[in-house]
Symmetry: C2
Subunit: 473 residues, 2 copies
Amino acid sequence: MTLYETLANHLKEHIQQGFFPVGSKLPSVRQLSHEHSVSLSTVQEAYRQLELEGMVEAKPKSGYFVRKIEIRTPLPTTTRPPQRPMEVSQWEEVLNLLLCKSESGFLQLQHAMPDMESSSLKPLLKKLGDLSRHRPDLGLPYGDIRGSEELREQLARLAVASGCLLHPDDLVVTSGCQEALSVCLRAVTQPGDIVAIESPSFYGSMQAIKAANLKTMEIPTHSEDGLSLEALELALDQWPIKAILITPTCNNPMGYSLSEAKKERLYKLAQSYDISIIEDDVYGDISYDFPRPKSIKSFDEDGRVLLCSSFSKSVAPGLRVGWIAPGRYRDKVTHIKYVSSSMCPTLPQIAMADFIKTGGYERHVRRMRLQYQQGRDHFLDAIQTYLPKGTRVSYPKGGFVLWVELNDNIDVAKLAIMGRECKINIAPGMLFSSTGKYRNCMRLNFSDQSIADRENGVRKLAYVINKYSKQYS
Amino acid sequence: MTLYETLANHLKEHIQQGFFPVGSKLPSVRQLSHEHSVSLSTVQEAYRQLELEGMVEAKPKSGYFVRKIEIRTPLPTTTRPPQRPMEVSQWEEVLNLLLCKSESGFLQLQHAMPDMESSSLKPLLKKLGDLSRHRPDLGLPYGDIRGSEELREQLARLAVASGCLLHPDDLVVTSGCQEALSVCLRAVTQPGDIVAIESPSFYGSMQAIKAANLKTMEIPTHSEDGLSLEALELALDQWPIKAILITPTCNNPMGYSLSEAKKERLYKLAQSYDISIIEDDVYGDISYDFPRPKSIKSFDEDGRVLLCSSFSKSVAPGLRVGWIAPGRYRDKVTHIKYVSSSMCPTLPQIAMADFIKTGGYERHVRRMRLQYQQGRDHFLDAIQTYLPKGTRVSYPKGGFVLWVELNDNIDVAKLAIMGRECKINIAPGMLFSSTGKYRNCMRLNFSDQSIADRENGVRKLAYVINKYSKQYS
Ligand SMILES: Cc1ncc(COP(=O)(O)O)c(C=O)c1O
Ligand SMILES: Cc1ncc(COP(=O)(O)O)c(C=O)c1O
């Protein structure tokens, strides 16, 4: 941890413990610098961090004050998945979601697409257009099966931010994170094996587990701390689990991030049970924290972590540019990637490499990070205001989706149908369980709606829930 | 069969039986029209067909004559693969081929890339450039998981030429034919199953078989008639084979096409043993015959044929646009395609749809067909002229690769290394066997070299073979 982070954490604890009450003035920059023997700029950095997190506010010419903390909607309850390996079902429901057309006039809260209208994407689009026009020759032949070298170089550079030292040859480019996950699952398991996952989990990984003839072992999660390591350890004691597939940073659907300490403990646990970790980092770069949290991969000593990611959430999914840092499974991963779809299209790779190299990616991500954080705050406000009492909602640390738990007696599958009548689409919670649990939950997206649309959407949702309750009670 | 094809076949038989000797004048158009009660244009079409096939030539103002048939290099011997199911090895050798950089000054005979410099590709490239510049919004979101509808409509239209009546919803778009094959294998088998394949076979399919934990049963082939149905039937009697994966039209590496009658018999055989057929049609559209031969899929009555293809050989592999017509396996195929890489990039799909719709694809393919046929004839001439006695070579009916069988005592793996010293790359035969057979064979490409380069290449090859023979005898 850097100095300013240590200081920020220290202050945060004091605030949380009530040492500095809401509205009170915090020690001056000079005073803290003196007390803690750190530079003025370190203190400023620490305050900036707390400001970003919404804990303090700066008042011009008078210093920093503890912000009023809003009464938050309660968090979802800790999940209680079945305590044994399960086959994955729910394909029909997933397919329905995938085939759901984006009809005009509909509020699309169901998908996990980033905002793609930001002007910070312009340099990338220009490069793509230029390449297509002037260098079509680059896009026509088969390219490097591992991915274009320019891109792998830039990916290795980016990885430093998550604490990973990688060589371009430690990377394999894939068709999005979906292919990355699918390839890694096949690389570390045999048909019939059990894979531990978070519960709830992204449906795409669970369907990949199904297609590879594997079983899931769902591990309980808490909507703020993430996966329960205790439950994982219990499961590892009881079942011959081969790997854990986890989205530890800005989780989909919950939005939590495991603390770095917890990531390290998870890694040690995997080491002691000798299982591999497939780490899905697809939302990692749009964590609201800056610098972004470290990945589990950053603790990897023996190559057992296979990091999977893509630019689908940070830039645009249609690019289909993803990658794997496969650790000691590189040869197997290269083989399976080759048979799965041979090489990936070259032009999007070169365009992304250029976008990163020229700083455009960092600028874009910086902007998105802020936008999504504001989106979250606004969305949570609206949910707090309009959704009925008893509603619980997660508090994302990054990304642009959150998890809503409604009253037990609400069946979101039915609610979703009523929602469609009001031109609003949601993702039913049962997609995020291998066995159709979480029937009273849903995942909602807050990436790209206008403030008005979003507020309107939540109001409509409240109306639909109300209508539902009348109809089914 | 159309009238003119019937007539062409009739004439061909008469020529082959020596009824019309080489150099003799053939009956006039008017005479044949009268004799066979067909229109003048039907006769002209039949003669044009025979001309295309190189059997007759038109002499201005005097009519059609039987062409001198060249003494051909002998055909490769019928292959004799192991008569039991095998695990696939050879990955290291395949990887070496895949990673082989295209260094400048090298003659690249090793890969299976089409000519991509043809001006007939211009409309496609223009469309791709225009779309990237003016409609980047189309390329950014997730698209339809089954592939863009425009493209599937055009694919259904194209399929008519191979005798298939398909609805756009009967198609699933993939990242090239490689993904198509991989998905289909997983859709119709369980780990441990046996898949029958032609011997030799495309290495990519065999590696996909390996990655899906399947075994191959290699079936002997003849370089002109293709797969031995008798051998297949024997194998089906002896082993619990689940599916056959076959490239029956312009086979890679041999270049043969199964006759339509044989395709139908193969289908009936699959029906009677209740196995599915994965038909790789990736070279189908660049068959030298026009109209192109029917696919096995065209005989499919009960949906057991899964047709796989792409534009990698007819247009350009870097587009990564492929597809599956999965018959009764559609739901399973959609599932596995989704988990494998989710949807495919949209812009190349729309550009290809436009290229087909506006006639550009047909024009391009027509031109390529002729170019490759001429390339084959020239390549065979050069091989006949320069390669040592005892060399055998296949006689492709389409595509741009052929199979060369050298003297038994030549190890092409070593020859390939010597070749590299002379700046010439070849694909060693053992890649095309699951177990490293065909050590004295190689696959060569004749798609895009200039006449001079190609002739030079064959001369160099002759030099290398000569050097090899001196060194190792
Ligand atoms: C957690 C997670 N992993 C992977 C993916 C798939 O990403 P891609 O579109 O890059 O295949 C998603 C997309 O929804 C996701 O949310
Ligand atoms: C017979 C055959 N099938 C499939 C493929 C793979 O095609 P694609 O590049 O479309 O994945 C090839 C490419 O070499 C091939 O020769």
